[in-house]
Chain length 153, copies 2
DNA sequence: GGGCGGTTGGTGACATGTCAACAACGGGTA
DNA sequence: TACCCGTTGTTGACATGTCACCAACCGCCC
């Protein structure tokens, strides 16, 4: 390997800042979510994704793809959420392998009660601290990074 | 609770973008790190923090504080890293409870070999995709969020 | 129809993180 | 000195995530 191009001061500060913000924000939002609603980040993500679909149901593979989770991880987690009554599994008409994940009544109530607290938490710890320009910059840069990471070379 | 202040379109886009970038970036950088150096994120963080101290050693509590890890988590992880010869534990002169974490020769070699690849990975997937203004914005906003989260009300 | 490669979701073994409890110790105080 | 209270690091039980593997299934081709 040739001489590595180390980060300059500004880049290093930004990268470390990003990493630290990421860690602290995660801890705080996870804590808020647990206190306010008794849900984990993972629970919230699953419920949120399900509640945003038309008939509140999704194929496991599709849900896993959207969430960037492995099918294995999702299957394990769903088993636990199913035991708590937040989701259910249905057979898939037309594909006997398939499993359709359904948001239950209790699951819907859970996400609807959690959402306002969660938004408040996100605002308090992040969004409301940013200027309009910063929101725009964050949006632009994050989508550029996403595009790069999801576009085959 | 009064009517929640939902995020507007721009805010929601930025928030979702941030979350997705965070997830994708994590996956990719973890993958690169494993492929290039056989280290996990956690390994790299521990080694990195240790290598940046003067005599390559830190009290467990101090290291845990810096990394925002629980002492328990760190202790468990150090046990595993110690078995791989990357770190070692020394008794603390002056405080018989204390445990001092030391970077071993092998640990130092590991981080020195990993660092160039890691920087390249960080550049490729994030830093080099950003304009100077975006770097500055990311730095500013992240440190504002950090300050808010680390300043007692 | 029968076979074949790829897909789907689940499972068990294992790696990792969380949480509560604990023994051992430090440092102030009377 | 003896006590008390907080700190330190470890541990075990448990929750969660990863990985390799598998049976069942799909769609396609012959």
């Amino acid at each position: 390997m040739t001489e590595p191009r180390w980060l300059d001061d500004k880049q290093a500060r930004a990268w470390r800042g990003y990493r630290r913000m990421r860690a602290l924000l995660d801890l705080q939002i996870t804590r808020d979510l647990a206190n306010d609603s008794g849900l984990s980040d993972a629970d919230y993500d699953v419920l949120s994704n399900l509640s945003e679909t038309s008939p509140h149901r999704l194929r496991l593979t599709e849900l896993a793809g959207t969430m960037l989770w492995s099918k294995s991880r999702l299957s394990h987690h769903l088993t636990r959420m199913q035991q708590r009554g937040l989701v259910d599994r249905e057979e898939c008409a037309g594909d006997a392998r398939g499993s359709i994940i359904v948001l239950t009544e209790a699951g819907l109530r859970a996400i609807e009660e959690a959402a306002p607290h969660h938004v408040a938490s996100v605002r308090r710890h992040m969004i409301d601290l940013l200027t309009d320009d910063e929101i725009a910059a964050l949006d632009a840069l994050s989508h550029r990074v996403i595009t790069r990471l999801t576009t085959p070379t």
